[in-house]
Amino acid sequence: MTAAATGPPPAEIRGASWRAFARSFRRHWLGMTAAAFLLLVLMACLAAPIIAPYPPDAEDLSSVLSGPSLHHLLGTDQLGEDVLSRLLYGGVISIEGIGEALGVAVVLGVPSGLLSAYRGRALDAVLGRVADLGLAIPAIVILLMVFALPVGGETAAMMALGFIYAPSIYRIVRGAALPLREAEYVTNARMVGVSTPRILWRHILPGVAGPLAVNLTLTAGVTLTVQTGLNYLGLGVSPPTPSWGGMIGDAQSVLDQQPWLLVPTGLTVALTILSFALLGDAIRDSLAEAWSLETRRARAGRAAGKVTEPQAVHAAGPGALLSLRGISVSDRTGRPLTTDVSFEVKAGEAVGVVGESGCGKTLTALAVVGLLPPGTRLAGGQCWFDGERRLSPGQGKRTPGIGYVAQDPAVSLDPCFTVGSAIAEVVRAHSHLRRSAARSHALELMASVRIAAPAEVARLYPHQLSGGLAQRVQIAMALASEPRLLVADEPTTALDVTIQAEVLDLLRALRAERKMALLLITHDWGVVAGTCDRAVVMYAGQVVEEGTVTQLIRDPLHPYTRALLRANPQRRVPGGKLLAIPGTVPVPGSWVPGCRFAPRCSLAADDCRAGDVTLTGLADGRATRCVHYAELIAEASR
């Protein structure tokens, strides 16, 4: 894959992940507001000696307990001291306190958590017990003890608070770092001899940074609450020195004379704590988005231009069980993911949908079943099943009469239910059978998918099943609704070849027994060849070729079909070489105008790029979306 073939990525998806984080963060307006407020408080307090209108202890007994006025913007307290000035000076103490507490917590908690997770064994056990002990000590007792000491005061108390936080920081860091220890990039770094501190700093800490940042922000809020409370009780900071807690205490004592006095300090403290919480939420959400490819691709796609609207629509032929007419799926932003997908499945017929990942195979299957994933919607086209129109845009209802088997059985079975009760539940949803009748029908279904001991397997939970067995269970569930069409999305990709062969044998047998049509989504020509009558080849959200399996394999009429066949290792050509297709499937939104396969195609000429290529119907029910298909016929006959 050369740079020329793939082309540069869209400008939006380039750049460092921290920038992605910043970009994502900027879209959380609440978090941005909170961050701005905190920054404002921080700057104002640090600049107190410059911007405060009065010294914090300047008493003016001539104007005591005045409300807001031009001389005293936020009023004065019972000694005539300016509230605004005291608020600014008092903030410095709060900032120092938060800094001390978090600093101690981080210094104690983060390195020990990282080491504990990375080294494990004895160190982990010892540190874990120490942390448990730390968590068991009541914070207030420690704090009161520290205040009772002749030295230290406020600073010592805040550091003690940090000491109390350290075990929970340790736990969070350890928990987040534990799965990273087993990550292959960490193993690799260790093998090439990268030093432990470096691995911890470079590979593990970035993975821990998210939860850590969130937790520290929330802890900052808690620290402010505790500190304000202590000061309110008169602990730590002695009266002439201003502190937020002390000011609240002062305001409370004159609440009946001047209620206003509580407002500036109370509001500042409340808003600061709230801001910490909101900031933590925003950081967590942005981090989750920053490294996920999907959101970035989605944003990249928005910049790209619109793709043409669906045009050619198949007329339903006689005997079609399922007929897709011009199905277009797009994401929330209106970016098309598949365009104008039309094909038919006759009753009892097996049709394969072939293509690489990212070509829209799965979306088409999900559209057929009526289970489009969140964030996508049907932008156009119709789906007819058994003579009825089954799907209207935006309707997320599963279509009856169609069974669905997903790729990974391990994630599509609910881990909380035994296999038997899961199947029985589906049976009851479809048939109004009584509980016991549904159970026995579930066992029949399990026997019909060739599970040797259905009664034993029915008692198992999904995690106790092997991959092949789990896939059989999933097929049994799909059969519960007596479907006339079974949609199977890569049913064997996650399985070993030997198990794959068994599952495919099963699908073939079930199809014959139940006169059931099959729509099989796969990237493997071997699977299609052995299982399907006809196949539809998809590329970049379009159908590019359609025909019987024998036709497609013997003489493909689209360069993509031919290239896919040549790249398939299953073809038994002793000593032959695999021919790769240069480049990769373009992501939705970066489709080129004209033929979407042109950048990777050996036959591409100027007329391919000139305008949209339509799906041309040919003799024997074949169709191809290639301008130069005649050349392929000529080449094949040579």
Binding site: M1, T2, A3, A16, S17, A183, E184, Y185, V186, N188, A189, M191, V192, G193, R198, R202, H203, P206, G207, W291, S292, E356, S357, R450, A452, A453, G467, L469, D496, V497, T498, I499, Q500, A501, E502, D505, R508, H523, D524, G526, V527, A529, G530, V549, T550, A563, L565, A567, N568, P569, R571, R572, P574, K577, L578, L579, A580, I581, T584, V585
Partner: protein, 341 residues
Amino acid sequence: MTSEAAAGRDLDAGGMLLRLEQVSVDYRASRFRPPHRAVDGVSLAIGSGETLAVVGESGSGKTSIAKAVLGLVPVTSGQIWFAGQEISRWRQRQSVARDLQIVYQDPFRALSPTRTVGQSLAEPLLTDRTLSRAEVRQRVGAILEQVGLPASASVKHPGEMSGGERQRVVIARALLWSPRLVLCDEPVSSLDVSIQAQILGLLDDLQRRLSLSYLFISHNIAVVRYFADRVLVLYSGRVMEVGPAELVCYKPTHPYTRMLIDAVPDFDPGIQRERTLRRVIPASGQAAGTSAGCVFAARCPYVIDICRQIRPALQPVWEGGPLCACHRASELASQQEPRPA
């Protein structure tokens, strides 16, 4: 060289780069349960510039062999020799660490998501303090070019690359120290077919240019037959059959190898139908292997009484032929299409 005197010809040719002798790996879930033997007395050898493929289903112990060679799991018994030096223990490994590299199955998990490609590639180089920053940058650029990526790829994060591009980066990282042996653990099984062919082509090309040896682990014998010089078929931690790829993949002797090949879906619907009929679905629920007999006996269509009692030795099917651990090996080899028992 005691019990496997017969195996000697294949295993002890002088000048082999990597040699495993009767290696076993045990995993212990708890102190109170008997350990699980993942690799059971496996011997193999890889010559310079050669590709040995290890094929088997999941759970057959393929990855455990790779981990044992890399020193990531302790070897319970047996020895591992690399370039004439024993590396069975982690400490012995350090001196040859650079000559032995690995390419992982999942290229996303193999790269740190928060570091750029350039940073990931520079990291192993920076452990060598004799290299200056400029030299490191230049080496990273050169290695990217070698795997068919533009030098500008070094500023990207793995999340911004396709699976095929990421796998190229992982290969580039394995090549940084000009290794002699690269372990490829299912390097293409998470990729699309068209990309698989690209990556296999790249590995092939690199082998010829840099005279690399590969230990190529795969569950798909169809991929292996394009790529390997010799193939070793593993089942339940034991070697079932080992020999030249053209013999093992096209004229297999062992019933398990035959089962693996028959399981590959064929393009020709006629052949496919024939295979489906030939396939015997084994009764499930039987234990995978008994300590006494052949581990494959429970699934084997050709099983006879002796298979359940005596463990078959790995011996040549014919003079100079591939090695096969099956009591009926010579019988199976002589028949073109032997009938299941």
